[in-house]
């Protein structure tokens, strides 16, 4: 029996265990960690609150719906009204050659697809997030009730838009209002996948396949079931991600970037990591666009109006002849996120050369520029042979080209709407437009390998990009 009452020997035991445990923990072999987990950056999805019992009818007009929403979400409309989804214009830029600052957007500028929305509001505004934008009058941007909440928030099986942005006849507005939830790919895609007048016509990397893609189509939306808003982070209706065709300068914090979630240099291989300073993520990870559905790559307006057999993919009387392509290898240009030039209505063109509707900024000596994949859309669209500027015809409506097949009339009617003077003589000229390819991201195993760009079978035109030759032999642009 021990004489001491307190069992001091326990202290000794604890000391022994600590002496052993501490160094073991310190020296325990570490698993090689691969850096951050991109999944940590996905915004939290809000818990869905069913509006089935909250929204009460009757809701007769679309404006009734918006008023009902504003009862509980009073800020929502004014938030939306600050965004380009509502204004269809960018913020103002000063550009050389113009006295006043200009804005760029579907509201007031042209592209080389359907050319212009001005005067064609009847059909074009079916993708405006508002109601009642008519031709012939200025749109009152201040009416909150005209903000269309349903197109983004309603279950798309219950709601659709048609002329002037108003809901299709027969839509049950109450059912639509009750179905509201956070936007899904179907909400965004109903407009963004069908730009240019059909599925996958415009962007090439945004098609209806992305509603239910599999992993090989897009690793985020397919493999991981991402919503659009998981990358296009939205706060107070301000959605990140600016389309470079409608902006001159884009602030980096308004833009979506792979680096928002992914490590800048996530590759195990140092050589591949060193490409990051000159090659955009998309270049290797979006090896091709229009994977599942063909996209339009050529549009010849000059042949419109002929009475020959029509086919969605080759010729339509109202639009002219097209070429659709699938699994297209992108065009690669230096790109620092901005544009050097964006065609504004009234700019003078040189009809003997292709006109660039937008010119991505960046070149080999720009340290912020990286090689980026673009879809190049080539069009032959009308221009005024007297004034040498591109023309924006009126296409829809009862006097539009799509009814009368009269170009002259279409341009005359457009004069007061767009402010473009028409000399009475028109011709057709080639235009180029560059659309960035950034969706339809492939899983890592399908990314481009070394021989896709380097070597004899490589896809890069090195001299065009400004290199003396293949950088695998000549060295990269930042090396002595």
């Amino acid at each position: 029996m021990p004489i001491t009452k307190k069992p001091f020997w326990i202290l000794g035991l604890i000391g022994i265990l600590l002496i052993i445990a501490a160094p073991v923990v310190v020296f325990w072999p570490e698993e090689r960690s691969s850096g951050n987990d991109p999944a940590d950056f996905i915004p939290e999805h809000a818990v869905h609150v069913s509006h089935a019992d909250i929204v009460q009818g009757p809701l007769e007009t679309p404006q009734d719906v918006t008023r009902a929403c504003l009862e509980c979400h009073p800020e929502a409309a004014s938030q939306v009204m600050q965004t380009s989804h509502w204004t269809w214009e960018s913020r103002e830029f000063t550009v050389p050659g113009r006295d006043e600052p200009v804005t760029i957007g579907k509201a007031n500028q042209i592209n080389n697809f359907c050319i212009s929305a001005q005067g064609n509001q009847k059909s074009c505004m079916s993708c405006h997030t508002g109601y009642g934008w008519q031709e012939g009058q200025a749109y009152d941007y201040s009416i909150q009730e005209n903000v269309d909440c349903l197109i983004c928030h309603a279950d798309i099986n219950t709601y659709a838009k048609s002329n002037y942005g108003n809901p299709v006849e027969g839509v049950d507005l109450l059912a639509a209002a009750r179905s509201v939830r956070a936007p899904t790919r179907e909400n965004c895609g109903t407009c963004h996948f069908n730009g240019g007048g059909g599925n996958n016509v415009k962007h090439g990397d945004l098609s209806e396949t992305l509603y239910y893609p599999d992993k090989e189509i897009d690793v985020h939306m397919g493999g991981n079931d991402f919503l659009c808003t998981d990358c296009h982070w939205t706060e107070n209706h301000q959605i990140l991600g600016r389309l470079v065709v409608d902006n001159y300068q884009i602030e980096p914090d308004e833009q979506v970037s792979c680096a928002n979630c992914h490590n800048e240099t996530p590759h195990n291989d140092e050589r591949i990591n060193s490409h990051v300073q000159s090659v955009a993520c998309q270049t290797c990870h979006v090896p091709a666009y229009a994977l599942d559905e063909p996209t339009k790559t050529n549009w010849d307006w000059s042949t419109a109006g002929l009475n020959i057999p029509e086919d969605h993919y080759t010729y339509l009387k109202i639009k002219g002849a097209f070429i659709y392509e699938q699994e297209v290898q992108p065009t690669y240009l230096w790109f620092n996120g901005n544009l050097d030039y964006r065609y504004l209505l009234g700019d003078i063109i040189d009809p003997s050369q292709p006109t660039l509707i937008n010119d991505p900024a960046g070149d080999i000596s720009d340290p912020n520029a990286k090689i980026f994949p673009f879809k190049l859309h080539i069009s032959k669209q009308p221009y005024d042979t007297g004034y040498n500027h591109l023309l924006a015809p009126i296409t829809s409506g009862e006097n539009g080209y799509w009814t009368t097949f009269d170009w002259d009339l279409a341009f005359y009617l457009a004069e007061p709407v767009t402010g473009l003077p028409y000399s009475g003589r028109y011709g057709f000229t080639t235009t180029y437009m560059y659309w960035p390819s950034t969706h339809m991201v492939q899983p890592a195993e399908k990314a481009l390998q070394c021989d896709a760009c380097h070597g004899d079978s490589g896809r890069m035109d090195w001299e065009e990009l400004g290199y003396p030759g293949d950088p695998i032999e000549w060295g990269g642009r930042f090396q002595p």
Binding site: P2, Q449, C450, A452
Partner: protein, 926 residues
């Protein structure tokens, strides 16, 4: 059909015309978008004219082009031709017997003269009774993979072939006439000779099929000219003559620049002979293991930048193979980046052995112009097993470590990096699997109707020649290779086994049976002879199927032998040969290299896995390994129940010790038996004591203790030191056991090693501190036995343990704070603490630092020897602990007194006495 109105017709026609115009117009626009891929042209080569062998312009003479004269106008073609083993191929070595193998049928160690059982035709030597390949026929068959010059240009005695007197008995001027079945004279003047063909390697698209055709027809002189077919410089007319095209030349008779591009060799050039090298435009498809792609057929190597998962082959688990066929090809390395011309000033690097220690890099080198004039066409090469040609050049190429920091890359995860790197070649782990079929065995003891051997492809299930057969690939065989610097490393190979008949001819030469004779024995008019069918047809269907075509009975063997004798071939017998072919290409990127230790350090190690050599052994003749290679093959040949032949590497005969695979079993036996023995002894001893105690309690006269008192025997530090040591040694023993047999336990090996090392380090510190304490305080005295009377005391103590303790005798030794240990204890503890523990620690330190102090580790037998000592000592320690713990129950007044004392410091002692419990308590005797 009702005619449509006229207006409609106009519209439709107009529409169609418009659509066509549209298509063209849009295409124009689209063409602006498409990038123009310019071919890589290096137009720096000056214009030159084509000269014939007399030095005249071919436009004037119409004769075939002579590369020696044409290229020789600026480049020293004599130098080039004499410094090119691609051209020489063994001509300079031709002698009557290959000194390495002693096989008399090898005229040299190169393709000109070395017996290749895969191709089966061999080069006959002067004095052979029967002619197989004379030089002319050698040129026609093997010459397709020969670049010209060498044996196609000069005789074995160094004279021009055209100058030799034509004799049917001279293999250099004779060829077998297939109709007559015997040798006839070959007219070299008529056929011409083949000069070293510069075009094969130095133009972008040499026309190898036209060249093959010319050589196959015996038009050797036109072979080099034929290589230019398709460039427009030379055109074949209707009667098969080659005509020079004056349009391709300018007014001075020089070739126009756009018609010919002279360039450094690209992978495509090398692949025309060494195939398979594949570009990336189309998915790679490869079936079977035909010798058309000779390198791929012999080794399974494919050099392509594309991903294996993108190939068109039916590969097992293809989608998971998201790696390139060869990572260097993917990174756009060219063959010549490693196999460069040895005097190329760009690549030349002085060998480490001749370079002075003070010099990292010697920048002096020959001028580019001098190099271009006399480029050495002996290329840098590795240490392959299969070719002893130009052996002095072996190991001259850049190896992995010339470009890669092999130490840095592995040092943070691979234990004993240096030991690994010096024992295994990089390829062993970085070429873990081949994904194309390769030849496994060729059985030339039989022959098919097409004149082919019975062949088996490795790595593919079913018929290898169809695209639908599943290609599972195969694991390369690891064999020890002796490098030219004497180091022995494991490297991967494909083992190709062949069987063939050999015979002795009338002049006493042993030769392989000629193909023509084999065909005569088996076939007549394109069918099997009747007696062959009779003997081989097992299922009686009148045909000899592939399955039946095998010499699996002595009757069949004798039949064939007899027929061979009938042809005049003396003493025919079967010989088997195993040839290893080196695997160095098809390197996997780091993510796919072997990184699991258990691939080799395991019972089922890939080093000791049996590899199948053949599905059957013809004639029961076991093959022998080729002797003229640099690999060592002392393993075991064995057959399984289906008759398939296997080779298994035996680490013992190769002098390899593989942790986790090799075992010094006796150490475990001895140690284990000792431990068990101790366990048994203490069980018996303890049982007897327990029975004794029970008997005492039951009896009236009970053992008790009197004068019990407590003594403070063990100070705090002593106890702390003791128990820390105990816990550490137990941890060391347990982790040590797991480390000793990792395949028995599935716990994280690295973690266990960390615990073991940490515990050992703490134990060492503990031991040193304790030693210091004991010495400084003088307490070490208690461990030192008193020399006077030591043996008496020891024997007395021993007798007590063996006998006295069962008789309740008192302890012969009284504990006191100054003297706590009996002599036996003193001796034991001294030994444990001052001999065994330090030895164990030392062996452990050397194991841990085997890489840091390789000489010290080597003194005691390296890691393998150290492991043996360490394990044996561990067993002894375990045995000691068992005995020690048990013996603590013999002290004090009760079995747990001593342990408690070591915990609290206070021990209960007393005198043993026997008390009669029937007596009342009060009358206790003092």
């Amino acid at each position: 059909m009702k005619l449509l109105p006229f207006k409609t017709w106009i519209s439709i026609t107009g529409g169609v015309l418009v659509l066509v115009a549209l298509g063209l117009g849009i295409n124009q626009a689209a063409a602006a978008n498409r990038e123009v891929q310019d071919a890589a042209i290096s137009p720096i080569h000056p214009e030159f004219s084509m000269l014939d062998s007399d030095g005249n312009n071919v436009l004037d003479s119409g004769l075939p082009v002579s590369t020696m004269k044409t290229c020789g106008a600026c480049h020293d073609t004599e130098f080039i031709a004499s410094h090119s083993y691609h051209s020489d191929l063994g001509l300079s070595e031709v002698q009557s017997a290959n000194p390495v193998t002693g096989e008399s049928w090898d005229a040299s160690s190169g393709p000109f003269g070395h017996w290749d059982p895969l191709g089966y035709r061999y080069l006959s030597q002067p004095g052979d009774e029967f002619l197989d390949l004379g030089t002319p026929e050698w040129v026609m068959t093997y010459g397709l993979q020969h670049i010209g010059g060498g044996p196609a240009y000069l005789s074995r005695t160094g004279q021009a072939l055209t100058s030799l007197p034509a004799q049917a008995s001279n293999p250099e001027t004779a060829a077998i006439n297939p109709q007559l079945g015997r040798a006839v004279i070959w007219d070299w003047e008529e056929s011409g000779i083949i000069e070293m063909n510069c075009f094969l390697c130095h133009i972008p698209s040499p026309n190898t099929s036209a060249r093959q055709e010319a050589i196959g027809e015996g038009l050797f002189g036109w072979a080099n000219t034929a290589t230019l077919s398709g460039t427009g410089i030379v055109i074949k007319d209707g009667s098969g003559n080659y005509l020079w095209n004056p349009e391709a030349f300018d007014e001075n008779g020089e070739l126009l620049e756009e018609n010919i591009t002279i360039q450094a060799p690209t992978n495509d050039n090398c692949s025309t002979c060494h195939g398979l090298v594949h570009g990336s435009e189309t998915p790679l498809v490869l079936t079977g293991c035909s010798l058309e792609y000779s390198q791929t057929a012999r080794t399974g190597q494919v050099i392509a930048a594309a991903m294996i998962s993108d190939s068109g082959m039916n590969l097992s688990d293809k989608n998971s193979l998201a790696r390139s066929w060869d990572v260097h090809a993917a990174r756009q390395l060219q063959c010549v980046d490693c196999h460069y011309s040895l005097n190329n000033p760009v690549y030349y690097r002085e060998s480490d052995s001749t370079r002075p220690d003070t010099l990292i890099f010697d920048p002096r080198r020959i001028d580019l112009g001098d190099y271009l004039e006399r480029p050495d066409h002996d290329f840098a090469r590795g240490q392959s097993a299969q070719s002893n040609l130009a052996p002095e050049l072996k190991g001259s190429m850049r190896r992995c470590e010339s470009c890669h920091h092999s130490r840095n890359i592995h040092a943070d995860w691979l234990p004993y990096t240096d030991a690994h790197l010096s024992a295994i070649s990089c390829e062993s782990c970085h070429i873990p699997q081949m994904y194309a079929p390769a030849i496994e065995s060729y059985d030339w003891t039989v022959i098919s109707i097409e004149g082919e051997p019975k062949s088996v492809c490795r790595g593919v299930e079913g018929d290898p020649d169809t695209l639908y057969s599943l290609v599972s690939g195969f694991t390369p065989t690891l064999l020890p290779r002796r490098n030219i610097d004497g180091q022995q490393v494991l490297a991967p190979y494909n083992l190709v086994t062949t069987w063939f008949w050999i015979y002795d001819d009338a002049n006493g030469n042993t030769r392989p049976v000629r193909l023509i004779d084999l065909e005569t024995v088996y076939l007549k008019n394109g069918h099997y002879r009747a007696e062959i069918v009779k003997e081989f047809d097992a299922d009686g269907d009148g045909q000899v199927s592939e399955l039946e075509l095998t010499l699996d009975t002595s009757a069949k063997q004798e039949l064939i032998a007899a027929r061979l004798v009938g042809l005049g071939l003396g003493n025919p017998r079967i010989q088997g040969l195993v040839q290893p072919y080196s695997i160095n290409h098809g390197v996997a990127g780091s993510g796919f290299a072997i990184s699991d230790c258990r691939a080799c350090h395991h019972e089922a190690s890939r080093i000791t896995q049996p590899v199948r050599l053949a599905v059957s052994v013809p004639g029961g003749v076991l093959p022998a390994f080729a002797e003229d290679t640099n690999i060592s093959a002392n393993g075991n040949l064995s057959m399984d129940e289906s008759g398939a032949l296997f080779y298994t590497l035996d680490p013992i005969t190769e002098g390899l010790y593989i942790f986790g695979n090799s075992n010094t079993a006796w150490v475990d036996w001895v140690g284990g038996l000792s431990f068990l023995g101790v366990l048994v002894a203490i069980t018996v001893h303890g049982a007897l004591r327990y029975l004794q105690a029970r008997k005492s309690r039951k009896s009236q006269r009970r053992l008790t203790h009197r004068n019990t008192r407590k003594l403070y025997l063990y100070e705090a530090y002593e106890r702390f030191w003791h128990w820390l040591q105990t816990v550490l040694i137990v941890i060391l023993l347990v982790t040590g056991l797991f480390i000793h047999r990792p395949d028995l336990f599935g716990i994280s090996f690295r973690g266990l090693v960390v615990i073991h090392n940490v515990s050992a380090a703490i134990l060492a510190i503990n031991a040193f501190l304790s030693l210091f304490y004991h010495l400084a305080s003088g307490k070490v005295r208690q461990f030192l036995p008193h020399p006077y009377g030591f043996f008496d005391d020891a024997i007395r103590q021993t007798k007590f343990y063996l006998r006295g303790i069962f008789k309740d005798e008192p302890h012969p030794f009284e504990k006191s704070p100054e003297k706590k240990m009996n002599p036996l204890q003193q001796v034991t503890y001294l030994g444990i603490l001052n001999v065994l523990l330090p030895l164990q620690g030392l062996t452990g330190i050397l194991i841990w630092g085997a890489q840091r102090w390789p000489e010290a580790a080597g003194l005691v037998g390296g890691l393998a020897g150290l492991a043996g000592y360490h394990t044996l000592l561990a067993w002894l320690f375990a045995a000691f602990i068992a005995a020690h713990v048990y013996l603590t129950t013999t002290g004090g007044t009760g079995p747990f007194d001593s342990i408690k004392a070591m915990i609290t410091g206070w021990e209960v002692t007393g005198e043993k006495t026997v008390r009669d419990i029937s007596e009342p308590q009060g009358k206790k005797k003092k």
